[in-house]
């Protein structure tokens, strides 16, 4: 762990300017991911700019949706009655993640910006293209149980760890960003990027850009939604696979749906192919399995010294089917 400078500016604009001015600077929010990485030597910023207290901590109604300040703690967001009523998938995703203590520290803006997760990325004694571009990927052919089956590249097979981000992906959220050149808004689905040949970049944010709010659109289908996280132990583990889903059924036909997967890709994985298969179908295990099959047609499991992760394909298929089955029953 190398020494670093620390600044606590008075406002977000100053913070953005401070980070933008130094290529080796990083924002410090709740610190639940960055501080780990500092200790492990995975992150070695020369300057930390503390944005604690500089970002909005309110949740406000916004044209039928919700505007969530980037400083809202995960615990507070999960407890918000509007979130619980209109976007239960988000509340459940948040509560399935980490621990109570971490959810008190982690923020709305920081959670989606967790670095992707990989045993080897976290271990500076092994090569990693994400940590040291061009050094190689130790994970490929290593312990790959947690790794990606969708959208991976020969350079990186890490998965995104956030549960919250999977729900936000399903909910068509918008992300408001403050950068050195001013504000911009982007679709949540465009925030994260697949590894390709530049796995060091987890998101499309430019250096110095800071998430200030996340906006949930009005989304009636989300009122009946759920998040299902599958892991070996009952708590405090990252998802092997997870499913965020919302389902609207009218007269025995699926009229609308939102589906996203976690634990299977470098990004939260919006399952638009599955949604297309579901549209108009009669809710049934057959339809649900067809939806999963469409989405997973390009899945590429990893071999590994731990047995690899081919199990994620049937596991995700069955998890999706089970989640949709339960939602369809709620409808009835």
């Amino acid at each position: 762990m190398r020494p670093f400078d620390y600044q606590a500016p008075a406002d977000a604009g100053t913070a953005v300017a401070a980070v933008a001015a130094r290529p080796d600077a990083a924002f410090l929010g709740g610190g639940t991911n960055l501080v780990d990485h500092l200790r492990l030597g995975v992150a070695e910023p020369g300057l930390l700019v503390d944005v604690t207290g500089l970002l909005p901590t309110g949740i406000s109604d916004d044209g039928g949706g919700l505007r969530i300040g980037a400083g809202v703690a995960n615990a507070d967001l999960a407890a918000d009655s509007r979130v619980r009523r209109h976007y239960p998938v988000l509340a459940r995703a948040l509560l399935s993640g980490a621990s109570g203590q971490l959810r008190n520290m982690a923020t709305t803006g920081g959670n989606p910006l967790q670095r992707t997760r990989c045993l080897y990325f976290q271990d500076v004694t092994t090569p990693c293209n994400k940590r040291s571009p061009g050094s190689g990927c130790a994970a490929i052919g290593g312990a790959t149980r947690q790794h990606a089956i969708l959208g991976a590249s020969e350079h990186c097979i890490a998965t995104h760890p956030s549960d919250m981000a999977v729900a936000l992906s399903a909910l068509d959220a918008q992300v408001e960003v403050l950068g050195p050149d001013g504000e911009r808004t982007l679709a949540f689905g465009e925030l994260h990027r697949l590894p390709g040949d530049a796995p060091e970049r987890d998101t499309v944010l430019e250096h110095g850009e800071l998430i200030t709010a996340i906006v949930l659109p009005p989304l009636p289908v989300a009122a009946r939604s759920d998040y299902r996280k599958v892991r070996d132990r009952a708590s405090y583990a990252f998802a092997l696979v997870s499913v965020a889903a919302a389902l609207e059924v009218t007269e025995c036909r699926i009229t609308d749906s939102r589906v996203a997967f976690g634990g299977v890709a470098h990004t939260p994985w919006r399952a638009r192919r599955a949604e297309r298969v579901l549209r108009g179908a009669t809710p049934s295990d057959e339809a649900f399995h067809a939806a999963a099959a469409a989405e997973l047609a390009d899945a590429r499991p990893q071999d590994g010294v731990d047995g690899g992760n081919a199990f994620k394909i049937p596991l995700l298929t069955r998890t999706l089917a089970g989640t949709l089955r339960d939602l369809a029953r709620q409808e009835a």
């Binding site: 190398r2 290593g142 599958v230 070996d232 708590s235 010294v305 731990d306």
Partner: protein, 698 residues
């Protein structure tokens, strides 16, 4: 027969004497021992499984603020005795395993030491590491003995012929993974070298987190070439050890070397969680080929366990996995064997119930398979194979209440109504099943321990260099001493955790209470013999542990039975254990609340072994890649539901004066088999490789 104590304090449900200090946070642990101007030591580890150090340049580290010294193979002191290769630290250029200590930085602050350690420039000539355990390796060898000193192999009759004859037989391979102890308190030492003391020869004080202060002293004075009296080791409290603090590991000796490099400055060295995965020992992975044969009546005609496991090339550790198959069940044809692969891997060591824990997984699952094949209830099968005498030695048991545990457990758990068919109970979206397995752990007493009892200010003060791992020794020894002296516990103090107290054995092998208690009883008898019932202040007597003569006439073991209910999610295969119940025969229980805590803790650790714990060893790199608590999964609160332990009222007049058998380890023995058997009963899928994870039962 031992002269059994009249139990007045023994058996009382007393709260911990140290509980108040722990709850208030005033109990002092090794890394927070009071120290004036402490400095900090950070180790540098080799990032390769095998090779040679070609150069170490400490200059970049030495140039940093606050750095006091950098120990390297070139600058570290020459050690006096490196016959135990684990302690040949910084003595040559060889790299024997990934994670080996190759340098150590001492600096004024923790942060300075940590940063400077990253700057030490070590270059290597890397050689291919040989790290992969397999039962097919041509270089497997038979060790001279397993860890207990027992023979690696045994054979009686003709197992192969009996298996061929059947009619019922089970021949399967079972595996247990590499497993690591993860005590809450890290391995930590505060070390101070005072060159002017001890008549100018210098003295070394170690405040160490250890399971045996005297064990640490014996190692350190020998390795450093000091006199025993030059070394003092202090350890009042331990935040868990489970065997990983049973013998001193490299960190302790390194802390001592660091202290001698900065005379007069206390040095703190605490391993990080990641570092413990290569330096603090581990349970080696095992491959167990079990053969059982039985007649239609369920009586075993053969039992065999042929074990392949790993050790490190630099130091042999032969886990005694073969032992349970020798002791549990009667059968005329018997065979066990131990074969080792010596690899370029970290050095294995003790982990709770070494031998019995992995060695009861395979046979107890095989017994479940045999019960199913024969159509006999698993408890009934065990009843039919209960031996009259110890199957290997032929000695009678001092007491053996396995069947009593099975029967009581069955009744308490609700076993009699069980439908034996697997994979047929589905409700609420889950598959449900139950399973049973037996537990066993030998009753041991160590040969060396001494205690002193004195009259001080009208109280009885006993001193013995014993240890409390968080298990309750501070309290339990008071109860024993009080009964031995025939006084109330309020009149007795027992002082432990310091080599200034008389020599005591390590807290290992579930032998602590058996050994230290027997020693205190002997000291109390000596005290009363010399000073009667009205001693004066200053009266003092010492005695050593009496020999366990009855062990020549009796086989001594604790037994138990564990019952698990398992639910497997129909969609996802997620495995949960809503009920886990163990009932044990462990002799006299000194303190019920602490005994229950030990048994429940062991079972919880067994639950982890059954479903979660798995050190993911990457043979390409030679290290465990899930080396932290985010990725090496132990049970969380949410995983432990209705988990209970109790015991039968067992009186064994032969084991020792207290009638105790030791309870630290038996709780983990058999748990994994019970859970795996229940998972099979729920799903119909037999998993023979631990841990049982959701992908194996999808």
């Amino acid at each position: 027969m031992s002269e059994t104590l009249e139990h007045r304090a023994i058996g009382a449900d007393l709260p911990r004497r140290d509980g108040d200090r722990k709850v208030r946070g005033t109990a002092v642990y090794a890394d927070e021992s009071p120290a004036q101007d402490p400095v900090y030591c950070r180790i540098v580890q080799a990032p390769l499984a095998r090779g040679r150090i070609t150069s170490v340049d400490p200059a970049p580290a030495e140039a940093e603020d606050g750095v006091l010294a950098v120990l390297t193979p070139a600058t570290a002191e020459r050690l006096a005795d490196t016959s135990d290769a684990e302690y040949a630290i910084l003595q040559d250029d060889e790299v024997h395993f990934r994670g080996q200590i190759v340098a150590a930085v001492i600096a004024e602050t923790f942060e300075q030491a940590r940063y400077a350690a990253d700057l030490v420039d070590v270059r290597y000539d890397e050689q291919p590491g040989d790290t992969l355990l397999s039962a097919d390796r041509p270089d497997l060898y038979r060790p001279e003995q397993v860890e207990t000193g027992a023979a690696p192999d045994t054979s009686e009759g003709d197992v192969d012929a009996a298996v061929a004859a059947g009619p019922a037989r089970i021949q399967q391979t079972y595996t247990t993974p590499m497993l690591h102890n993860n005590p809450m308190e890290p391995h930590a030492t505060t070390a101070l070298w005072e060159p002017a003391s001890h008549g100018g020869a210098g003295s070394l004080t170690l405040w160490d987190s250890t399971q045996g202060v005297h064990t640490v002293r014996e190692t350190v004075y020998t390795v450093l070439g000091l006199d025993r009296e030059q070394v003092r080791v202090v350890c009042p409290y331990v935040g868990g050890g489970f065997g990983s603090k049973g013998i001193p590991h490299q960190n302790v000796v390194t802390a001592a070397m660091a202290a001698r490099a900065v005379p007069g400055r206390p040095v703190r060295l605490a391993l990080t969680r990641q570092q413990t995965f290569s330096l603090a020992g581990y349970r080696p992975p095992t491959i167990q080929q079990v053969a059982l044969a039985a007649g239609d009546d369920g009586r075993l005609t053969a039992i065999a366990n042929d074990v392949v496991e790993q050790t490190s090339r630099v130091k042999e550790f032969a886990e005694q996995t073969v032992l349970p198959a020798r002791t549990m069940y009667a059968a005329p044809n018997r065979r066990t064997s131990t074969r080792l692969a010596a690899l370029d891997v970290p050095i294995p060591s003790w982990m709770r119930a070494p031998g019995e824990c992995p060695g009861m997984f395979a046979p107890e699952v095989a017994m479940d398979e045999l019960a199913h094949e024969l159509g006999i209830d698993p408890i009934e099968l065990r009843e039919r194979n209960e031996p009259d005498t110890h199957p290997e030695s032929g000695l009678p048991f001092s007491s053996r209440n396995l069947l009593a545990c099975l029967r009581r457990g069955a009744e308490q758990f609700g076993w009699p109504d069980r439908d034996p068919l697997p994979g047929v109970r589905s409700h609420g979206g889950w598959w449900w099943g139950t399973g049973v397995a037996a537990s066993v752990y030998p009753t041991m007493r160590m040969p060396v321990s001494e205690a002193e009892i004195s009259r001080v200010d009208g109280r009885y003060v006993a001193r013995i260099g014993a240890t409390d791992l968080g298990t309750g020794t501070w309290t339990a020894l008071v109860q024993i001493a009080a009964d031995a002296l025939g006084v109330a516990v309020d009149e007795v103090d027992v002082l432990i955790g310091d080599t200034d107290h008389p020599m005591a054995s390590v807290a290992g092998g579930s032998s602590g209470i058996n050994t230290w208690g027997s020693t205190l009883v002997a000291a109390a008898q000596e005290f009363r013999k010399r000073f009667g019932d009205t001693p004066a202040d200053g009266d003092s007597a010492r005695a050593g542990v009496p020999a366990n003569e009855a062990a020549e006439r009796y086989a001594m073991s604790a037994f138990g039975a564990q019952f698990a209910e398992v639910a497997v999610h129909a969609d996802t295969g997620e495995i949960r254990v809503p009920r886990l119940y163990g009932t044990f025969a462990v002799g006299r229980v000194v303190n019920p609340r602490m005994a229950r805590s030990q048994l429940v803790g062991g079972m919880t650790m067994g639950l982890g072994m059954a479903l979660y714990e798995n050190s993911l060893f990457d043979p390409r790199t030679g290290h465990v890649v899930n080396h932290d608590l985010a990725e090496y999964h132990v049970p969380t609160q949410a995983d432990v539901a209705d988990l209970r332990a109790d015991w039968i009222d067992e009186h064994d007049p032969h084991v020792n004066a207290m009638g105790t058998k030791g309870i630290g380890e038996i709780g983990i023995v058999g748990t994994a088999a019970a859970v795996a058997n229940a998972a099979w009963h729920a799903t119909g899928t037999r998993v023979r490789d631990l841990p049982v994870t959701l992908d194996t039962v999808l």
